[in-house]
Symmetry: D3
Subunit: 134 residues, 6 copies
Amino acid sequence: MATVPLIQDHDASTEVQAVFDDIRATRGSDFINNFWRALAHDPELLRATWDRLKVVMGPGTLDPLVKEMIYIAVSTANGCSYCIHSHTAAAEAKGMTPEQHGELLSVIGMASTTNALVTGLQVPVDSAFEKDGA
Amino acid sequence: MATVPLIQDHDASTEVQAVFDDIRATRGSDFINNFWRALAHDPELLRATWDRLKVVMGPGTLDPLVKEMIYIAVSTANGCSYCIHSHTAAAEAKGMTPEQHGELLSVIGMASTTNALVTGLQVPVDSAFEKDGA
Amino acid sequence: MATVPLIQDHDASTEVQAVFDDIRATRGSDFINNFWRALAHDPELLRATWDRLKVVMGPGTLDPLVKEMIYIAVSTANGCSYCIHSHTAAAEAKGMTPEQHGELLSVIGMASTTNALVTGLQVPVDSAFEKDGA
Amino acid sequence: MATVPLIQDHDASTEVQAVFDDIRATRGSDFINNFWRALAHDPELLRATWDRLKVVMGPGTLDPLVKEMIYIAVSTANGCSYCIHSHTAAAEAKGMTPEQHGELLSVIGMASTTNALVTGLQVPVDSAFEKDGA
Amino acid sequence: MATVPLIQDHDASTEVQAVFDDIRATRGSDFINNFWRALAHDPELLRATWDRLKVVMGPGTLDPLVKEMIYIAVSTANGCSYCIHSHTAAAEAKGMTPEQHGELLSVIGMASTTNALVTGLQVPVDSAFEKDGA
Amino acid sequence: MATVPLIQDHDASTEVQAVFDDIRATRGSDFINNFWRALAHDPELLRATWDRLKVVMGPGTLDPLVKEMIYIAVSTANGCSYCIHSHTAAAEAKGMTPEQHGELLSVIGMASTTNALVTGLQVPVDSAFEKDGA
C-alpha cells in the first residue's frame, strides 16, 4: 500500500486532471499508472515531475529504448521494484528483445561486481583517466 | 591508496602476466589500469573477472557504447568513483559526444528522483506491469 | 515473512517483556509493532536498539517531527519499505500535513537527483566548503 | 577531477551566463560552486536543475534549515561527499548549531541501523501502518 | 512477479537442463529455486552465474557458513529481500544458530551506523591505515 | 577534510578524554583514529557509539576476524572508504591472510552480482524459504 491515497480521476483537482490529460495525450493511452496517481497528492510535484520526465525521456541524441535500459540500470542499482517493473514494461513496448534484456542484465551484474571489487580494493584512479584542466 | 599492493609487471606471476597479456592483446594497448593491478593480488579472481568482462562487454545484441553508458549508470548509482572515471573515458573513446553524456546524466538524474519518489510513496505495482504466468 | 519468528507477548522472556513494557509506557500505547517483535529473537539487540532509539528520538535540540522527517529521508534513500511506512505513520501522528509530506518528498527527490549528477560528474569539493584545520 | 571541464565565467555561453547570473542574484553572492560549473557543460540540464532547486529549496511549509538537514540526510545515505560538504556548509550558514549537527548525525546513524536490522530481519509491515483505501 | 517467466523443467532447453542438473547434483537436492528459473531466460547468463557461484561458494580458505554470513551482510546492505531469505535459509542449513544470527545482525547494524557517521562527518583516512607503496 | 574539527587530546573535554582513555585501554594502544576524533565533537554520540561498538565487536559467538570481514562486506556495499581502510587494517591485524582477503572480495563481488540480477529480474521468494508462522 502507498503512504498516500492514489488519486482516481473522479477525485482529481483541475491541476491534477490537466497533468493526467497531458500524460494520456503524450502517451496516446488512457492508462495512468499508480506512480502518477500517488504523486497527485502534491499537484506541484506531479506537474514538475511529469514536465521534466517528458523532456528527459523525449526526443534527443539517445535512442528511446537505450534511455529505458539506462533507467532500468539505475532503478536496479537503487532497488526500486516499481520502477524496474514499469520501465521493463516500457522497454519491451519499445522493442527490447529477450536477448537484449539478458544482455542488459549481464552488464548490470558485471558492473555491480566490479563496482564492489573496486570499492573493496579502494583502487586509486589512474592519471590516464583524469581530464586535463578539469 | 588501495587496500592491497598494485602489482607491477616485474612483480607479476606467470598467471597474472598471462591475464595482463590478454588484456593488452584484446584492447590493442600496452596500458593496464590500476583495477587489474589491484585484482592481481588474487590471480584466480583476476582471471575470473577479466574472462567474464571480456564476454559481457564483447560483441552482442547491444551497441558497445550503449553498454558503457549502462555501466556508467550503474556505477553512478553505486557511487563508484573509479568506475565512473574509467567507463566515462571508455565511453568517450567509443565516441560518446558531450550531448550524449549530458543526456545520459539527465536520464540518470531523472531515474534517481523517480526512484526516490516511488520509494517514499511506496507505490504499489500496477497489475498492468505484471507478467502473466510469471 | 520475517527471517525470524515474531515474538508474541505470551512467548516473551522476562528480558523481552521488560523492553515491551518500556515501549508501551514510553509511547503510552499497548501496540508493539513487528520490528520489536522480530528483534526480540535477540533480547540483547532488542534492548540496545530500544535504549538508543529512546535517547535519539527523545527530547533534544531538533523538533520531534523534524527527526521523523529525517528518518523518512534516510529510510527512503536506503529503500527500507517497513521503515518508510512506520515513520510516515509516526510523522503523521506528530502532525505532518500533506503539504509538508509533499515538500519532504520534493527535497528527497531533489537531493537524489543532484547526488547522482554530482557523482556522475565527479565534481571536486570547492575549497570554500573545507573546514580550516579540519 | 571532474569527468567534464568546469566552465569558468569567461567560457560561459549566454545560456550558461544567464543561469550563473540568476544563481548570484538569488544567493546574493558572487560565488558559483563547482557543481554548477560542471553541470554547465549541458546548459539545458544546468537550467532545469537550477530552476527546480530554486523552487524546492525556496519558501514553503518546511523551515529552510530543516530542508538542508533533510538534504544532508539523503546525501549521507547516498554517500555523496560533495553534497555533504556543500549542504553542511549551507546548513551552518542557516544557523545549524554543533548540537543540532550532532543530533542530525545521531538520527541518521540510528535510522541507518534500524533500516539494516529491518531489512536483515525482513520485518512485515504492520497492518496498523497501512493506509485505508491506499 | 518476476520481469521474466520462470522456466519450469518441462520448458527448459538442453543448455538450461544441463545447468539445472548440475545444480541438483552439486546440492544433492531436487529443488531448483526461483533465481535459477528466472535466470534461465538467458542460458548463457545462467551458466556463467552458476559456474562462478559454484567456485566462489565452494571449498576455500573461508568456512562455508562464514561465506553465507558475508553474503547475508552484502545482501542486507543492498536491500535484496530474495537474497536475504535464500542465504539466511542456506546459513541455517549450514548450522547458523539464533545466537550467531543475532550477532551477525548486530555487526551489520553497527557497521551501518558507523558507515553513516563516517560519511556524514567525511572523516579523512588516517595515514596509519594506508599501505606503504600501495 | 571532515565536516567537523578533529578533536586532539589537548582539546578534549573530560567526557571525551574518558572515552579516549577507554579506547586506549581496550585496544592496548595509544592510537586514536580520526573517526573517534571527529565523533568527539558530540561527546554523547561518541560515548554511545564506542560503548555499543565495544559490545558488538567484543567476545561473542562469532570469531573476531569473521566480524571484521562482515564489517568490511557491509562497508563495501555502502561505499564507505574510511571504514574499508580501517576494518581491512583491523582484519589484517587479526590475521586475515591475502588468500582470505581475496576470497572475502570474491564473495562480496558474487553477492553484488546476484543481488543485482535478482533485483533486475524481481524474483519472487520461494515458499521454501518462508518461515512457518513467521
